[in-house]
């Protein structure tokens, strides 16, 4: 055996204090070194999730369509008044719920990554961040499927997508980063106190009604209007939707600031993850 070029691993009690830049660099190194594991775990979960199912992979296409059916039904029978939308309501609600789903999916998948893989976390030396982000592969796959369904939906309504639709994945990226940032924080804190993630996702469910996801948030109430206006999620949902269908971004400056906030949340999430992760394994 080659005894040279052997890496030396050192595990020690709370060594040097980790700075933000060091956390980010460490995350980059660990994600790169664990890339094969992340991919294999994704393939494992994806394939295992669709084997021995009646609808198999078809379910991936059907699920998002069924997801918007209830909103369209409520709108059709007049229970839900989505307000004035420039886009046909089924398309409006489909893109809105898809983008919101990215946030929720990223938060729940990343935050549950350590607890869901607890057996592997306490039996292997794979970097913990790999287990946290492995669920993101499913989210990214879901995004591709959503795009395909969206194109079908636009064709059905005779509304061709704008040329800017190609930037859609980039436009939803801030929302994904936000979800990953929150998810990483919750992955480690939620492993210590298990109900924190549940509380956060419940809160997120309430915030959805202050965000133009299933209806346009042109509230007559001035307080609600102000909250909606200062809610950065408003722009993170509106921008990709308008870009895809109408080819423009309403209030680009606010969208840019919101995106910057998402990046900061991601950095904070990565840093918090690396500060706390050593306290997690024994509490899983």
């Amino acid at each position: 055996m080659d005894r040279k070029n052997k890496s030396i691993r050192v595990y020690e009690a709370s060594g040097a204090r980790l700075g933000v830049v060091s956390s980010l660099a460490l995350a980059g190194r660990e994600l790169y070194s664990a890339r094969h594991v992340i991919w294999r775990l994704f393939v494992r979960d994806f394939v295992a999730g669709f084997r021995q199912r009646l609808l198999g992979y078809l379910w991936v296409l059907l699920a998002p369509l069924l997801g918007i059916a209830s909103f369209v039904f409520m709108q059709q029978i007049g229970v839900l008044n989505p307000g004035r939308t420039e886009i046909p309501y089924p398309i409006f609600v489909y893109i809105g719920t898809s983008v919101w789903g990215l946030l929720l999916g990223a938060v729940t998948n990343v935050s549950g990554g350590l607890i869901g893989n607890a057996d592997l976390v306490i039996r292997t030396s794979i970097p913990k961040i790999a287990f946290a982000v492995t669920g993101m592969a499913t989210i990214c796959y879901g995004l591709l499927v959503n795009l395909a369904v969206l194109l079908l939906l636009l064709a059905w309504f005779g509304r061709p997508p704008s040329a800017w639709a190609l930037l859609y994945p980039l436009a939803v990226l801030p929302m994904l980063l936000l979800g990953v940032g929150f998810g990483l924080f919750l992955a480690v804190v939620g492993a210590v106190a298990r109900d924190i993630t549940g509380m956060f996702t419940t809160l997120l469910g309430l915030v959805m009604y202050l965000t133009p996801v299933v209806y346009a948030t042109d509230f007559p109430n001035p307080v609600l209007k102000a909250i909606t206006r200062w809610n950065p999620l408003t722009y993170l949902v509106d921008a990709p939707r308008s870009l895809f269908v109408l080819g423009r971004v309403p209030e680009p400056a606010r969208y840019a600031w919101s995106s910057l906030a998402c990046v900061l949340v991601l950095i904070a999430g990565v840093h918090a993850f690396y500060l706390i992760k050593d306290r997690v394994a024994e509490r899983l």
Binding site: S7, V10, A13, V37, L120, T124, V192, I276, R279, E282
Partner: protein
């Protein structure tokens, strides 16, 4: 031969846990807040409700050397292994590991039941630090080692438990790590597979892999390890040869068995089940009972030389048993008997007054002291209990019986290694001779 490189160096490793989930969460949240606030950690100190699972463990291990880790349950072996595997961060101390660490703690970890064995080999191989290309290169070897043949393409959920562990072991063992961490893994599969595992471990050692084997099996430690450590309550209390550590481990087991037996006796007596405190039970099935015409008030084992009460005896050390006996009414043809139980067997020996030549045709009312001298006892190391029975030749019921009247332990001898079977209770000295014979002269 050049000096061997150091593969592992552990210095003062410590790890603490909370006793309850609630406390663990409370301290966990407090630690999280401290870290987020950028304050220094106080992880090296014990807080109320915490205990050291591993405390101040230091050792070094050279390339190609196998270290056994023994200790009773809860002694910190698995926690130590998890620290070495990078799963738990130490609360104090430091460990350096040189080269790729393979872990047989993870044998079969992450197996997805719906996926085939082959697909799972990729998942498991990547979890053990191999690249997909390395897994592909090893695939045929893994399939052959695990003896799975065409079943490698069967979903793992249809595997027998033997196939499951064979595949897990094959992936981890064939990944040829520089350091191999194993936790009770050698007892997998049938005898042929176990032999193959031992052969492979030996081969890995010869190729320079350093091994840490955590096991309760003295046989496995003795076979694989060059040296060993014995852990007790998180601390390394002995770092020495595999034989010394096995002796210490088995003595500790026997001591624990004796102590837990005494605790059980006390609990039973407290619940009135024994009848010791009240009226003597005139039925069988209790810890103590009989007609009460003669009773044994106390039994103790004493040292041969000083006559002081003791419970722990050396191998082949003479033992004296003393008993206070009260004969409440005159008895004819009295029989007094001790029986001895081992941990897993009852009545492995009997010491009967009549058999040993003490004929008691008539015993008057009064208090007596019975002394029995065991000059040449040959109990193997372990924990034993002594039962007392008093009866009469002409009456086929017990005047008195007392189960677990006394407990004692025989320790491992320093000068010989009694490793062969922890279930065996008697040692018989004999001479072995091996002579080569021709086929024609066989029986």
């Amino acid at each position: 031969m050049s000096a061997r490189e150091r593969a592992i160096r552990a210095e003062g490793l410590s790890k603490k846990f909370g006793l309850s989930l609630r406390q663990s969460m409370k301290y966990g949240l407090r630690d999280v807040a401290r870290r987020l606030a950028g304050r220094a950690s106080n992880s090296g100190q014990l807080r109320e409700g915490e205990f050291w699972a591993v405390k101040d463990v230091s050792f070094e291990l050279e390339q190609g050397v196998a270290l056994g880790v023994m200790g009773v349950n809860g002694s910190g072996k698995s926690t130590l292994l998890r620290i070495l595997n990078g799963v738990y961060a130490p609360d104090a101390g430091k460990v350096s590991l040189r080269g790729r660490v393979g872990s047989l703690i993870a044998a079969g970890a992450g197996f997805a039941p719906m996926l085939s064995g082959r697909e799972n080999v990729y998942v498991n191989g990547c979890l053990l630090g191999l690249s997909p290309r390395e897994v592909t290169a090893l695939m045929d070897e893994i399939v052959a080692f695990a003896e799975l043949g065409q079943f490698i393409d069967l979903p793992v959920k249809n595997y027998s438990s033997g196939m499951h562990v064979r595949l897990g072991f094959a992936i981890a063992a064939l990944s040829r790590p520089d350091i191999l961490l194993m936790d009770e893994i050698l007892a997998v599969g049938d005898m042929n597979f176990q032999k193959k595992c031992f052969d492979h471990i030996l081969q890995l050692k010869q190729q320079g892999t350093s091994i840490i084997l955590v096991s309760h099996s003295p046989g496995a430690i003795w076979s694989v390890c060059n040296r060993a450590v014995f852990m007790d309550r998180g601390k390394v209390v002995l770092d020495g040869s595999a034989e010394d550590v096995i002796r210490a481990y088995e003595d500790q087991n026997a001591r624990n068995a004796m102590e837990s037996g005494e605790q059980f006796d006390r609990a039973q007596a407290a619940h009135g089940g024994s009848g010791r405190q009240g009226q003597l039970k005139a039925q069988y099935g209790h810890a103590m009972g009989g007609t009460g015409d003669a009773v044994c008030a106390a039994v103790r084992l004493v040292g041969w030389e000083d006559g002081a009460p003791k419970q722990v005896f050396g191998f082949a050390e003479p033992i004296q048993i003393e008993a206070d006996i009260e004969v409440r009414s005159a008895q004819e043809d009295l029989l007094i008997r001790y029986t001895i139980d081992a941990a897993h067997y009852r009545f492995i020996a009997t010491l009967d007054s009549y058999e040993q030549g003490l004929i008691l045709p008539s015993v008057r009312r009064g208090n007596y002291r019975l002394r029995v001298s065991l000059h040449q006892q040959n109990f193997r190391p372990g924990a034993y209990t002594l039962n007392v029975g008093i009866s009469r030749k002409s009456v086929a019921v017990h005047l008195f019986y007392w189960h677990n009247a006394a407990r004692f332990q025989i320790e491992h001898p320093k000068h010989r290694f009694l490793y062969s079977d922890s279930n065996a209770v008697m040692h018989l000295d004999c001479e072995f001779e091996l002579a080569q014979v021709t086929v024609a002269s066989r029986f």
